[in-house]
């Protein structure tokens, strides 16, 4: 049997002195997309940041793509994780094309990949517009373009569909199906239980810092 894409065991995370996650277990198998819902402040974003290797556990263990998130190997595995947080992360003074080119340079992709990725997310015409002059949805699409430059093995979406038009939601759908088809994994967190009809294999609910199977 293949190793899990994400394996969290007895995970506990405190932010400052506040316990956010407690004794949490989660395994995401290769080719699986998991949806996690929960109220505001339930720890969804914290959970996603641990899976992105950006946050280390206070207690328990976390392995992502076979790498312990507290080890130095986490730096090498990060480019293979597609992390879309709930706030756009583009550099505000750069254009969408410059933002994508910068990502391509760090990821070792080519300029032709940049044009193709921007075209695929429907931003060819707006590519010379500065990020801080773009709408939330356009910035999201530009972040999706980065995911197309180097297809990730693990996809992490925080409120994937919030503020997006139907075309962009289709892109989220496509990205999820693609990572699953390639044997990767995905975690989508949302405050909505229904997850907007995204192609998820199972859904869980985060309550009091722990996971339960969603009703």
């Amino acid at each position: 049997m293949s190793a899990p894409v994400v394996s969290l065991r007895a995970l506990g995370v405190d932010l400052g002195r506040t316990p956010v996650l407690r004794d949490l277990d989660l395994e995401v198998a290769p080719g699986e997309a998991v949806g996690i819902s929960g109220a505001n402040g339930s720890g969804k974003t914290t959970l996603l940041r641990v899976a992105a290797t950006l946050l280390t556990p206070t207690t328990g263990t976390a392995e992502v793509l076979g790498v312990d998130v507290t080890s130095d190997a986490r730096f090498d595995v990060r480019p293979t994780i597609g992390f879309i947080g709930h706030t756009p992360s583009l550099f505000p003074h750069l254009t969408l094309a410059e933002n994508t080119s910068f990502a391509a340079e760090l990821l070792g992709a080519t300029i032709s990949d940049v044009s193709s990725a921007l075209a695929q997310v429907g931003l060819s015409a707006a590519s010379s517009r500065r990020a801080d002059h773009c709408s939330f949805g356009m910035q999201r699409r530009a972040e999706f373009a980065t995911l197309l430059l180097a297809p990730p093995r693990l996809l992490l979406f925080d409120e994937a569909q919030a503020g997006l038009d139907s075309g962009a939601v289709e892109l989220v759908d496509h990205l999820l199906k693609d990572v699953v088809a390639r044997g990767g994994g995905a975690i989508v967190v949302s405050h909505q239980r229904a997850h907007g009809g995204l192609p998820l294999d199972r859904t869980l609910e985060l309550d009091n810092g722990n996971l339960e199977v969603a009703a």
Binding site: P79, G85, S89, F91, L106, L107, G108, T146
Partner: protein, 222 residues
């Protein structure tokens, strides 16, 4: 994945492009620094020999104070989501620090070059051995840039950053300020400044080594 130097160069280019668009350093910080140099002699109304004596020291103090603003600008541009983005793109923390420091060095050297003629004109401080400036100006710019970048990484995107950065930079910059002032004074008096340049070179090396050693823990602590 690309190498550390290539990553640092990409990050420096991105920082400079961002600065070119915002124009904070050259269109806001530099004019205010020039005005500070102009106001000091007007305020204290002192005689020409005294102005000549204090000119180099005031010049470097102004460069240091406004250099802190360059460091603050950097930390503002390094807020949460953008910081996460760099990490997730696989940027090595050492490359991030090096790239940011390189961009800040370019901006600080530009600031020094813009302010130097202002100081020479206002303080009537003629300089012998202009060639030495080609070494002195970049060494001071690089040292202040590395120090500012390191301190801004230490403070991270915290709410206390604006107070912490100057409090940490100012005392740590004393060797840089001392060497820079003594070197410029030496040039004014036609003396050798090699010792001061060596001190600046040592400070630069020490800061570079510290940056490489603490880059990862600093990024992860933020």
């Amino acid at each position: 994945m690309i190498g550390l130097r290539h990553q640092a160069a990409a990050i420096a280019r991105r920082d400079l492009l961002s600065e070119m668009r915002s124009g904070e350093v050259l269109w806001v910080i530099a004019p205010f620094a020039a005005i500070a140099l102009l106001l000091i002699p007007l305020g204290i109304g002192t005689d020409v020999p005294t102005l000549r004596r204090i000119g180099p020291g005031l010049y470097w103090a102004v460069v240091l104070l406004f250099g802190i603003l360059v460091a603050l600008r950097q930390s503002a541009d390094n807020a949460g989501p953008q910081r996460d983005r760099l990490a997730m793109l696989g940027a090595d923390p050492a490359a991030v620090l090096a790239g940011r420091a390189a961009a800040a060095a370019v901006l600080l050297i530009a600031l020094e070059v813009v302010l130097l003629p202002v100081m020479l004109a206002l303080y009537d401080a003629p300089i012998a051995g202009w060639g030495w400036l080609l070494a002195l100006v970049p060494l001071v710019g690089a040292a202040l840039a590395m120090l500012g970048t390191l301190v801004s990484a230490v403070t991270g995107p915290s709410a206390t950053r604006p107070a912490l950065v100057p409090l940490l930079v100012a005392p740590l910059a004393i060797p840089i300020l001392l060497a820079a002032t003594q070197a410029l004074e030496g040039l004014r008096l036609g003396e050798s400044i090699l010792t001061w340049l060596l001190l600046l070179l040592t400070v630069n090396l020490a800061l570079a080594v510290t940056g490489v050693l603490v880059a990862r823990p600093l990024q992860e602590a933020g």
